[in-house]
C-alpha cells in the first residue's frame, strides 16, 4: 500500500511540476537559511572538550575596587592576577591545576635562510597538557620539576615544528626564543578546541598558540603580555615584578576535579584563601569568588556572537514564512482535488487511507526540500566563510549531526505544514463533491 501512495504522490507532484518546484524551493531555501545559521550557532556553542568539560572549572576571584564592581551589577573580573594564579598553583589543592597567560616570542631559526619571526605563546604550568587532553605528536609536556626549576623548555605546535624542523621529531633540539635557547620537550599534534575555551579574552575562536613555556619563566624572563590587561589601581613601583604583583588581572586559572562535586570544597578553599589575603590589605570587596565549569563559563562569556544569534532568529522566521507558504499552497492543492478525494472515499478509501496518501505526498516534498536545503546550507556556509574570512574558520562546517538534523527538520516541518491541508482534505464527505460539478 505504501508504494502505491508513493506512486500517487509522484504522479500528483509531477502533474503540477511548477508548483511542486515552488514548494520544494521554498522549503529548501528555508531549511538552507536556517541550517546555515543554526550550524554557525551550534559550532560556536559546541562543547570543546566533551569528555571532561564537567570536571574542568574556571576560577574567578573578586579583587576589584571597593568603590565599583568590575562589571555591573556585581560581577568579579573574568581573569585573575599573576600573583593569585601563582599562589593557587603553589597551593595545589585540586586534582590538577594550571595557571596561564598569553605571551609572544621572537623566534630566531637556526637555519640562516629563515628570517626571525614572531610566535604567539602561552606561559602555563605542567598540568595544562594532561588537564586539557592535549594530543602530542612527539615527546610530552614538561614536568612540575621543570616548572619549579624554571627550566628553559618549550612545547611546539605542529605547525611551528613543521616550520622550524620540517616536521621531524625535534624533542631534545634547541630553539632560540627571545634571545634564549629553549629545549624542545614536546610537539603537539593538531589541536584546535572550538571555542578556545581556556582563554577567550582576546576572541573565543582564535588559533591555539604556537609555543608553550613554563609559567615560572614569566617573571625572570619578563615575558610580554599578549592578551587583555585590566587594572583598577596604579601599579606603584615601575618594575616588571611590581606589575606582576599588582591588582591588574591578566591571567587565567583552571582546575580539574576527579568528581565535579569537589567544586564545593575547592570554592571553600578559595574563599579561605581570599579571607587570608584580606589580612594583607587586598580583596576589599565582599567575598565574591566563582567556579564555573567549561560550558557555564562559555555561556557566561557569551562566546556565541550576538550577530550569529540574531541571524539565526531571522533565518528561523524565514523558514516559518516558507512553511506558511507551503501550508497555503498544499491547502489550495489538496482542496482543489475534492472531487478525486470524494471519489476515493466513495469507492471505499477510509479517512486513514487518505491521510496516509497525503502525508506521503507532503513528506516527499519535505525530503526533496531537505536535500535541496542541505546543498544550499553547504553553499551558505561557504558564503559565510567568504564573507567573514578567518573569523569563522572551523565554524562553517556541516557535521553528520547537522546533516541529520537538517533532513529531520525538513521532513518534520513539511509534514506539520501538510497536516492541516491533509486534515481538511480528509474531511471531504464521500457524496458531497460528486453531485455538483
Amino acid at each position: 500500500m505504501f508504494s502505491y501512495y508513493v506512486r500517487l504522490a509522484l504522479l500528483s507532484l509531477r502533474k503540477n511540476i511548477l508548483l511542486t518546484g515552488l514548494m520544494v524551493a521554498a522549503i529548501g531555501l528555508g531549511i538552507g537559511a536556517a541550517m546555515t545559521t543554526i550550524t554557525v550557532n551550534y559550532m560556536m556553542s559546541s562543547d570543546p572538550i566533551p569528555q571532561k568539560s564537567e570536571r574542568l572549572f574556571h576560577v574567578q576571584l573578586d579583587n576589584w575596587s571597593p568603590n565599583q564592581p568590575y562589571e555591573e551589577p556585581n560581577e568579579p573580573p573574568d581573569q585573575v592576577t599573576w600573583l593569585d594564579a601563582t599562589n593557587l598553583l603553589q597551593e595545589g589543592r585540586a586534582f590538577r591545576q594550571a595557571a596561564m597567560g598569553g605571551t609572544s616570542f621572537v623566534i630566531e631559526p637556526s637555519q640562516a635562510e629563515q628570517k626571525p619571526f614572531i610566535a604567539s605563546g602561552r606561559a602555563t604550568s605542567a598540568d595544562f597538557f594532561p588537564m586539557f587532553d592535549v594530543p602530542f605528536l612527539y615527546g610530552r609536556g614538561w614536568t612540575a620539576d621543570d616548572d619549579n626549576s624554571q627550566n628553559l623548555v618549550v612545547v611546539l605546535s605542529k605547525a611551528t615544528n613543521d616550520q622550524l624542523f620540517g616536521g621531524e621529531n625535534s624533542v631534545g633540539e634547541t630553539v632560540v626564543m627571545g634571545g634564549r635557547a629553549f629545549r624542545v620537550v614536546g610537539v603537539l599534534n593538531d589541536w584546535q578546541p572550538r571555542p578556545k575555551f581556556y582563554d577567550v579574552s582576546t576572541g573565543p575562536f582564535n588559533e591555539v598558540e604556537e609555543v608553550f613555556v613554563p609559567w615560572s619563566l614569566k617573571e625572570p624572563l619578563e615575558l610580554p603580555l599578549n592578551g587583555n590587561n585590566n587594572c583598577w589601581k596604579p601599579v606603584g613601583e615601575e618594575t616588571f615584578s611590581a606589575f606582576l604583583r599588582s591588582e591588574c588581572v591578566n591571567s587565567q586559572f583552571w582546575v580539574e576535579f576527579e568528581d565535579p562535586k569537589d567544586a564545593d570544597s575547592y570554592l571553600a578553599f578559595l574563599n579561605n584563601y581570599v579571607t587570608e589575603q584580606k589580612k594583607l590589605g587586598r580583596f576589599e570587596r565582599p567575598l565574591n569568588n566563582r567556579l564555573m565549569d567549561v560550558m557555564d563559563w562559555m555561556e557566561y562569556r557569551e562566546v556565541v556572537a550576538e550577530d550569529a544569534i540574531m541571524m539565526m532568529y531571522m533565518a528561523i522566521m524565514f523558514l516559518v514564512v516558507c512553511l506558511l507558504n507551503t501550508v497555503a499552497l498544499l491547502l489550495a492543492k489538496f482542496l482543489g482535488r475534492s472531487g478525486e478525494i470524494a471519489l476515493r472515499r466513495a469507492v471505499g478509501a477510509s479517512r486513514r487511507d487518505l491521510f496516509l496518501q497525503y502525508t506521503v505526498e507532503s513528506a516527499m516534498i519535505g525530503i526533496a526540500g531537505g536535500l535541496l536545503g542541505l546543498v544550499l546550507a553547504w553553499f551558505g556556509l561557504q558564503g559565510i566563510g567568504g564573507l567573514y574570512g578567518d573569523m569563522t574558520e572551523g565554524l562553517n562546517e556541516l557535521d553528520l549531526t547537522m546533516v541529520g538534523f537538517a533532513i529531520v527538520l525538513a521532513i518534520v516541518s513539511t509534514i506539520l505544514a501538510g497536516l492541516y491541508p491533509t486534515w481538511r482534505a480528509c474531511s471531504v464527505a464521500p457524496a458531497g463533491q460528486l453531485k455538483s460539478q
Binding site: K115, I118, P234, E238, T239, V320, V321, L335
Partner: protein, 405 residues
C-alpha cells in the same frame, strides 16, 4: 473600490487560505522591516567618520628582538628617514592603530580620588607629528611642542603634564564648556594624577569600533620604548601604495635587530574591522530579497489555484457582463485586501520584534518611516505577483458559463 464589500465577505468564507497568506505577508513585513533596520543601523555605524585621511595612510609594526636593540636610536632614525622620503606627508610613532581592534584605554575624571566617576578614553602615544600624520584638525589650543616629547618605559606608571583630546572627549568631561574653554582645564588620570588639556582636535576614532565611546580619544606626548611599536604614516594623495613598498624596503634594508611586520593600509584595517558588519548586511539583504521572491511566488501560486478553481465562476461573471478588466480588478482587489490585512498584522509584529531586539540586542528603535515604506513595497509586490494569474483569469471565455461539466 465599491466591490470591496462582497469580495471581503467572500474571503471570510475562505478564511484559512486567506489568513495563511495574510500571515505570510505579515511575517515577511516583520522580517523586512527589522532586517533593513539592522542593515541601516550597521551602515550608519560604518559611515561614522574616523577623522583620518584613510585613503592615504598606512602603518607597520617594528619589533626589536636583538639583545643590543637600541630602540630610541632606531626609532628616531626611522622617523627621520621616512619623513625625508618624497611623497610622505608625515609620520609618527604610535602604540595602537585607530579602528584596528587592539589598544590601550584609561579613565579620566574631573575630580581626583578613587571613588570619583571617570570617563573611559582611548590612549594614543604620539609625538608632535601625530596630528599631521592623522590628518586631524586642531580646533582649539596648540599642538605638542617638540621639546615636550618624552620617552615612556614599559612599566612606567606616571603621565606627562599635557594632553590633547577629541572634541567628543572634552564634551564628555566638561559638558558645559566649548572646546576653547576646555583648554587649560585639569583632568585626573589613574585616580589622582593631574593632566592639563592643551589642545582639542575635531575628530579621531578609538581602536574599538564596537565601543560606545569610540569618539573619545586622548593624545599623550610620549614615544614608547616597549621594544615593539608602530609607525603611522600619511602620504601625498595617490602615493600610498608606492610609499608602502619604499618604506618597507628602506626599513628592512639594514639589520637593526628588529622585525618589520604588518605593513597595512588604513583601508584594509577598516574593511577588517567592519567585516562582520558588512557580512551581516549581505546576509540580511539575501534573506530579505529571497523572502520577498518566495512570498511573491507564493501569491502567484495561490492565485493561480484560486483562478483554476473558480474558472466557471469567472465565466459566469463574464456572462453577466463583467469585462476582462473587471475580472482583473476583482483579483487585484482581492489580493489588495489580503495583503492589507497581512500588513496591518505586520505593523504590530514588526514593532513587537523591534521592541524585543531593542531589549535583547540593544539595537535602536526603528524609524516610523520603515513601516509605510515596507507596506508600499509589499503592496506593489503583491499586485505585481497577482498580475499574471489575474490576466490569465481575464482570458477565460464567458462561454464557460454554459458548460455543464
Amino acid at each position: 473600490m465599491s466591490e470591496l464589500g462582497p469580495i471581503f465577505r467572500a474571503l471570510l468564507r475562505n478564511k484559512v487560505g486567506a489568513f495563511l497568506l495574510a500571515l505570510q505577508i505579515a511575517l515577511t513585513m516583520t522580517i523586512m522591516v527589522n532586517a533593513i533596520h539592522m542593515i541601516e543601523n550597521r551602515s550608519s555605524m560604518m559611515a561614522r567618520p574616523s577623522g583620518l585621511d584613510e585613503a592615504n595612510q598606512f602603518y607597520l609594526s617594528s619589533n626589536g628582538y636583538a639583545e643590543n636593540f637600541n630602540e630610541r636610536a632606531v626609532v628616531e632614525e626611522d622617523l627621520r628617514n621616512i619623513r625625508a622620503l618624497p611623497g610622505i606627508v608625515d609620520v609618527t610613532q604610535i602604540n595602537a592603530i585607530p579602528l584596528s581592534g587592539g589598544g590601550w584605554s584609561m579613565g579620566l575624571q574631573t575630580e581626583p580620588g578613587d571613588d570619583k566617576p571617570s570617563v573611559g578614553v582611548a590612549v594614543y602615544f604620539v609625538d608632535d607629528h601625530g596630528i599631521d600624520a592623522f590628518g586631524v584638525n586642531l580646533i582649539a589650543g596648540e599642538n605638542f611642542n617638540p621639546t615636550e616629547i618624552t620617552y615612556r618605559q614599559r612599566n612606567e606608571q606616571g603621565w606627562p603634564q599635557n594632553i590633547i583630546v577629541t572634541e567628543a572627549m572634552a564634551k564628555e568631561l566638561f559638558p558645559d564648556l566649548t572646546p576653547a574653554q576646555a583648554i587649560g582645564q585639569t583632568t585626573y588620570i589613574a585616580g589622582d594624577e593631574p593632566m592639563t588639556i592643551t589642545g582639542v582636535i575635531d575628530q579621531l576614532q578609538a581602536p574599538w569600533v564596537g565601543w560606545s565611546g569610540v569618539e573619545r580619544v586622548m593624545l599623550v606626548p610620549q614615544r614608547t620604548e616597549f621594544r615593539s611599536s608602530r609607525y603611522f604614516i600619511r602620504t601625498e594623495p595617490g602615493q600610498r601604495d608606492r610609499m608602502m613598498k619604499a618604506v618597507e624596503e628602506m626599513l628592512v634594508a639594514e639589520d637593526r635587530g628588529r622585525l618589520i611586520r604588518n605593513v597595512r593600509t588604513m583601508e584594509e584595517t577598516r574593511d577588517d574591522s567592519y567585516r562582520s558588519y558588512s557580512a551581516l548586511q549581505t546576509i540580511l539583504w539575501i534573506i530579505v530579497i529571497i523572502l520577498t521572491i518566495i512570498t511573491a511566488l507564493g501569491i502567484v501560486g495561490m492565485v493561480t489555484f484560486s483562478v483554476n478553481r473558480r474558472r466557471k465562476q469567472i465565466g459566469t461573471r463574464r456572462a453577466l457582463g463583467a469585462s476582462r478588466f473587471d475580472i482583473m480588478k476583482h483579483f487585484m482587489l482581492e489580493n489588495f485586501l489580503v495583503t492589507s490585512v497581512g500588513l496591518v498584522l505586520g505593523v504590530g509584529s514588526s514593532i513587537a520584534l523591534n521592541i524585543w531586539l531593542v531589549d535583547a540586542f540593544s539595537l535602536p528603535r526603528i524609524g516610523w518611516y520603515y513601516i509605510p515604506v515596507a507596506m508600499v513595497i509589499l503592496w506593489v509586490v503583491g499586485q505585481a505577483a497577482v498580475f499574471g494569474p489575474a490576466r490569465k483569469a481575464s482570458q477565460i471565455s464567458p462561454a464557460l458559463a454554459t458548460r455543464t461539466a
